[in-house]
């Protein structure tokens, strides 16, 4: 186990280095490079620019600059927003809560609904339910999230008037119920793709398990069917879902960005788009790096958890 953990950690650190190198390269690809803020203002002479270049150490060789930048990233110094001079990391963290709220609600919904659909589909394979679920999942995976959001707004806000068309709160109303009311539509939209993915993975995992010898043995012993399913099949079929959770994470984050845009939800995704609109490169790159690191940590945790619950992984 210790060896597996060390290996996996080493891999993650190596990935972090490559990911940060990509982020660093992108930062330097920005028009004007790291100096774009000063260059854009147009009030500085070439002399001033040269001085700033030297002050910021941008005349040093790129590898040195990278190491310096990487070191500062590790210490939590991610630069300052061009817009208001606030530290990038604090800008991100002030928007993170809304995003996590949305992602958590959508994930809980998707896991419960998706696993239920997947299990039922596997048990009644090729039934009408299974066929409908399979086709439905494929369509759900193909619908552009933002368009589904628009349709949801049209049906539930414009036509029926049941749900608000956007934002996190009604102005002047900070109650939990109001937040919940605003959360329903975006969470539903974000959960659609997630549900489809969980359903597909759960179905194939369950199918794999119920064809195993030990299930046949349990049946031969005369064990009641519900006991076979819950104790023997389900427990084993749920294990790979830990990996699915890790794999899903990038899609979930991307979906959150789009959903937040449609519903003007004040989260990280919206902040990202706004920052692109303002050409606020430090924040753009900060969020890009932040999301990649979240994905990296997510898959690391998923792998570790999987190794804890499934001993076969540690040896193999």
């Amino acid at each position: 186990m210790a060896r597996y953990v060390v290996n996996r950690l080493a891999q993650a650190i190596m990935l972090l280095v490559i990911v940060s190198a990509i982020g660093f390269a992108l930062l330097h690809l920005a028009p004007g490079g790291p100096l774009s803020q000063f260059a854009a203002s147009g009030q500085m002479t070439q002399e001033d620019l040269d001085r700033v270049t030297r002050q910021l150490g941008l005349d040093r060789p790129l590898p040195v600059q990278y190491l310096d930048w990487f070191g500062r990233m590790l210490k939590g110094d991610w630069g300052k927003s061009y817009r208001d001079g606030e530290a990038v990391l604090s800008v991100i963290s002030s928007h993170l809560g809304a995003t996590l709220e949305l992602m958590a609600t959508a994930t809980i919904t998707a896991v419960l609904l998706g696993c239920w659909i997947g299990i039922l589909g596997a048990l009644r394979r090729y039934s009408l339910f299974d066929s409908l679920a399979t086709v439905g999942a494929m369509i759900a995976l193909s619908i552009p999230t933002f368009w589904f959001g628009l349709v949801t707004i049209y049906v539930f806000s414009v036509k029926l008037g049941w749900l608000p068309a956007g934002n996190r709160h009604t102005i002047g109303d900070g109650s939990f119920l109001d937040l919940l009311h605003h959360l329903i539509a975006p969470a539903m939209v974000l959960a659609l793709v997630e549900t489809a993915m969980w359903g597909r993975f759960m179905r194939s995992s369950m199918l794999e398990v119920i064809n195993q010898d030990y299930i046949r043995t349990a049946r031969a012993k005369g064990m009641p069917e519900w006991r076979i399913l819950t104790v023997h099949a389900l427990r084993n079929a749920l294990l790979p879902m830990i990996t699915v959770a890790g794999l899903q994470f990038p899609t979930l984050l991307g979906g959150a960005l789009v959903t937040e845009t449609v519903f003007t939800w004040p989260g990280m995704g919206r902040l990202f788009l706004d920052s692109i609109g303002y050409r606020d490169y430090p924040v753009v790159m900060g969020i890009l790096m932040f999301s990649a690191i979240m994905v990296l940590i997510g898959s690391l945790i998923a792998d570790m958890l999987y190794a804890v619950v499934d001993p076969r992984i540690r040896v193999g």
């Binding site: 990509i22 992108l26 028009p31 193909s142 368009w147 414009v158 990038p250 788009l273 994905v295």
Partner: protein, 291 residues
């Protein structure tokens, strides 16, 4: 394995694959829809009396099925059907071209990584893993923020965020095929490494590459719609399925048809390519075929 395959009188592998593909009704339906969409996008605009960029300010927001405009007009009085067909042309082209670029890059990276293995393979595949760490839409938008938006940039950027899956597939295939007799024989003949890689190994991995490429078209069309919807893809006045939805949210209450038609076409196209990819996977890979 289904009985149909066994009862046939010695079917060749390709016949078996064709039969398996035909059994996959959804994949057939997908192929049919794609054909209709491609034909509509290619020839449809010539059949309409309206130009997709012609502005008729007197006929703004004409609802569908009212008068000459079958799908109505948009906020500038442009014919929605004409824009839809031109938009489909642009979006499908971006999907195909991005797929081709991503597949070529993926094949080259995967072939080198799988063939040479060792340090080269490890570095290339870790690069693949690292790029996969970035959520696609975030990476795509960040790259788009650094470039001038347009048809070419959109295509290249989508390809840049889609080649990794092909690379993974090809790497695994090449790594396992490299040890097989025909590869060793080619080496004994004195074939160059490049020749072995791209004339012997990659053609033998064509089935999973085709499947990955088909699914990549679906993904590319979807990504184009995201990018253009958010305003960083294809720029107006040119139409794309994504940028037609750009203003749709503002007019959702007064002109909902502006949002409905492009969304349905995107969903139809992406679903079809996904079903086609699924069907091809079942047809081309008998080992994975669950009857």
């Amino acid at each position: 394995m289904a009985t149909a395959v066994f009862s046939a009188a010695q079917p060749t592998p390709s016949q078996g694959a064709w039969r398996r593909f035909c059994r996959h009704r959804l994949a057939l339906a997908g192929a049919l829809v794609i054909m209709v969409l491609v034909l509509g996008a290619a020839f449809g605009p010539y059949l309409l009396p309206f130009d997709d960029t012609y502005i008729d300010i007197l006929k703004r927001f004409a609802p569908p099925l009212s008068g000459a405009h079958i799908l109505g007009t948009d906020e500038l009085g442009r014919d929605v059907l004409a824009r839809l067909m031109m938009g489909a042309r642009v979006s499908l082209s971006i999907g195909f071209v991005a797929m081709v670029i991503a597949t070529v890059v993926g094949i080259v990276v995967g072939a080198f990584a799988g063939f040479y293995g060792g340090v080269v393979g490890a570095v290339l595949m870790r690069l693949v893993d690292a790029v996969l760490c970035f959520p696609t839409i975030f990476l795509l938008l960040a790259l788009a923020a650094l470039t001038e938006p347009g048809f070419v940039t959109t295509t290249v950027l989508i390809a840049a965020t889609a080649w990794m899956w092909v690379a993974r597939v090809v790497e695994a295939q090449v790594r396992s095929l490299r040890e097989r007799e025909f590869a060793v024989a080619a080496l004994a003949f004195g074939s160059s490494n490049l020749r072995i890689m791209f004339r012997e190994l990659v053609p033998n991995a064509i089935a999973p590459i085709v499947v990955a490429a088909t699914l990549n078209v679906a993904k590319a069309i979807l990504l184009e719609s995201y990018l253009s919807y958010l305003g960083y893809g294809v720029q107006p006045p040119a139409a794309s399925l994504g940028n037609m939805l750009n203003n749709a949210q503002i007019y959702l209450t007064s002109a909902p048809w502006l949002a409905i038609a492009p969304g349905i076409v995107i969903t139809l196209a992406v679903t079809s390519f996904n079903f086609l990819g699924d069907g091809l996977r079942d047809a081309l890979d008998p080992r994975m075929n669950i009857p």
